[in-house]
């Protein structure tokens, strides 16, 4: 009888919590609590931060074995073992490991995104390219720190792309043990864009530049809308084949939307599909943030590098827009350059908001959407460069 009670007590989470090392779980609960607060009370990227934080809670419950990161970090993953003895989150994590979730999320994003401003003003592509500067600067800094391997530094750098699915795809291939920290950093900074960007936007532009009014965007023909996704897929595929899982799905989703004959598929991609995948992705990415894996000095360094990446990407986009403004004879408002960091449509909204602080009747939103969606393509290309590099 007494033995049974002892066995029961030793099997409880409370008993396991007081055993060596498990106290760290309490810190993880605290971090998850902060993320849940930010997601619900402050509405900071709630669709991702809430599942991620709950995934963190589930994986850090003492004695609960829903997820085993060590199943997935071998070069040869034993899928039989995962199916035989894996927990719920192990099975769901297969979608991350096999690169399925990020691509499906891009499919939904493509169906939801209107590329018309970019087609109408294709010069915006350059601002989307300039805003990838932070990706490579953060990569260089992380590598120079000596703490991270080149692969890990690449995964950290991609935070500057301000694109969650891209960051997750690159990290799960190059540095799976950092997935939790990188995903949390990426989504947190994306939520903080309205606070991160404006000081640099104001610092790097003059009062006159911020008041520039841009001419109205031209209408785009249906044929251009149809050809755009096909051409982008083919061009990116020829130059950076490793970016095709992302760009191909993004453009396929967009084609479903613009072709006009697949409304049901487009709606599914925009709603049910992306919502289901978001739940699975968030939970499993959060599950990788176990105490042993997350509570390290390197996590703080990742968060610091991520912030640098976001700031430098913002600066890169702004400077590109400033140069284009000079070359165009003052026709481009440099504020739209900061929208070149992906984070659709948050970054474009920030451009609009800052612009209206100086001229309430100036509407930059649609102009900023061009660089914004170009940034999505740009960050996928940058990810393709990292993935195809012979490390």
């Amino acid at each position: 009888m007494l033995e049974s009670i002892e066995n029961f007590i030793s099997s409880t989470g409370i008993a396991k919590l007081v055993q060596g090392g498990n106290w760290k779980s309490l810190i993880m609960f605290l971090i998850a609590g902060v993320l849940i607060y930010l997601a619900i009370a402050k509405q900071f990227e709630p669709l991702l931060l809430l599942p991620i934080s709950i995934g963190m809670v589930l994986t850090n419950l003492p004695g609960v074995t829903l997820f085993h990161l060590d199943y997935f970090i071998h070069e040869e993953v034993d899928y039989g073992l995962i199916l035989q003895s894996g927990g719920l989150l192990d099975l769901l994590y297969l979608g991350v490991k096999l690169g399925i979730y990020p691509s499906l999320i891009f499919l939904g994003i493509g169906a939801m995104t209107d590329f018309t401003p970019l087609i109408s003003n294709p010069k915006s592509f350059l601002m989307g390219a300039g805003a990838q500067l932070g990706v490579f600067v953060a990569f260089f800094l992380a590598l120079a720190s000596g703490v991270f391997s080149p692969q890990e530094a690449a995964a950290i750098g991609i935070i500057g792309g301000a694109d969650g699915p891209t960051a997750i795809l690159v990290t799960k291939i190059l540095a799976p043990t950092l997935l939790g920290a990188i995903a949390i950093a990426a989504y947190s900074y994306m939520a903080l864009i309205p606070m991160i960007q404006p000081p640099f936007m104001k610092l790097l532009t003059t009062n006159k530049e911020r008041r520039i009014r841009m001419s109205a965007l031209r209408p785009v023909s249906h044929l251009e809308k149809l050809l755009f996704p096909i051409v982008v897929t083919v061009v990116v595929g020829f130059v950076v084949p490793d970016a095709v899982p992302l760009v191909g799905c993004l453009m396929f989703g967009n084609l479903l939307n613009v072709c006009g004959v697949t409304e049901r598929l487009s709606k599914t991609a925009q709603n049910e599909l992306i919502n289901i995948v978001t739940i699975f992705l968030g939970l499993t990415v959060g599950a990788t943030a176990s105490a042993d894996n997350f509570l390290k000095g390197s996590t703080l360094l990742i968060i610091a590098c991520g912030l640098v990446a976001f700031i430098v990407s913002t600066i890169g986009g702004l400077l590109t827009a400033k140069i284009m403004n000079v070359l165009s004879g003052g026709k481009i408002n440099p504020l739209i350059g900061s929208a070149g960091v992906s984070a659709v449509p948050m970054a474009a909204r920030v451009s609009q908001k800052v612009g209206q602080e100086y001229d309430p009747s100036n509407f930059l939103l649609m102009h900023a959407m061009g660089p914004n969606v170009a940034g999505v393509i740009g960050s996928a290309v940058a990810a393709g460069v990292f993935l195809s590099w012979n490390w």
Binding site: L69, D70, I73, H74, L118, I119, P122, K123, F125, L126, G128, A129, G130, Q132, L133, V135, F136, V137, F139, F140, L143, A144, G146, V147, F148, S149, P150, Q151, E152, A153, A154, A175, T177, R218, P219, V220, S221, L223, E224, L227, F228, V231, V232, V235, V236, V239, V240, D292, N293, A374, I377, G378, V381, A382, V385, F386, W389
Partner: protein, 139 residues
């Protein structure tokens, strides 16, 4: 294999600092150039698309079109000649009859020729009868 072993595989310390920085610089330059080249090429393609598939609206032509439309207005048949079946809102005959009767009653009532007068009215379901009918029709 545990996580520690996996990290050892990545070999974070074996490469000397100068080699790391050199490789980092290579990735930096090649990466930025690749991103710019790909996106600049897409800009070029989109510019070609504009030339091929987009015609700039001609203001003069538009003005002529507007003139033509004005002339066409004169050719539009009188209201009484438009068959009911081709009216823009395909009709429920009962609804049309009710609307016509209401209009007729309104006009007639102004001359006090009807044997009744409206002394009160009340809204039903938070909307006027006309709005309700319109909503019902649009659904």
């Amino acid at each position: 294999m545990n996580i520690g072993n996996y990290r050892a595989l990545l070999d974070t310390t074996a490469m000397p600092l100068n080699e790391r920085l050199l490789e980092g610089l290579q990735v930096f330059v090649i990466g930025m150039v690749t991103v710019f080249v790909v996106l600049a090429f897409l800009w070029l393609v989109m510019a070609i698309f504009r030339m091929l598939f987009y015609t700039v609206p001609n203001k003069k032509k538009n003005t002529e079109n507007e003139d033509a439309q004005v002339v066409k207005v004169e050719d539009v048949p009188a209201v009484e000649n438009i068959p009911l079946a081709t009216s823009p809102v395909p009709g429920d005959p009962q609804l049309v009859a009710v609307i016509a009767a209401a209009i007729s009653a309104y006009h007639a009532s102004t001359g006090n020729t009807l044997p009744f007068r409206v002394v009160s009215y009340r809204r039903s379901a938070g909307a006027g009868g006309w709005c309700g009918a319109a909503e019902k029709k649009s659904n």
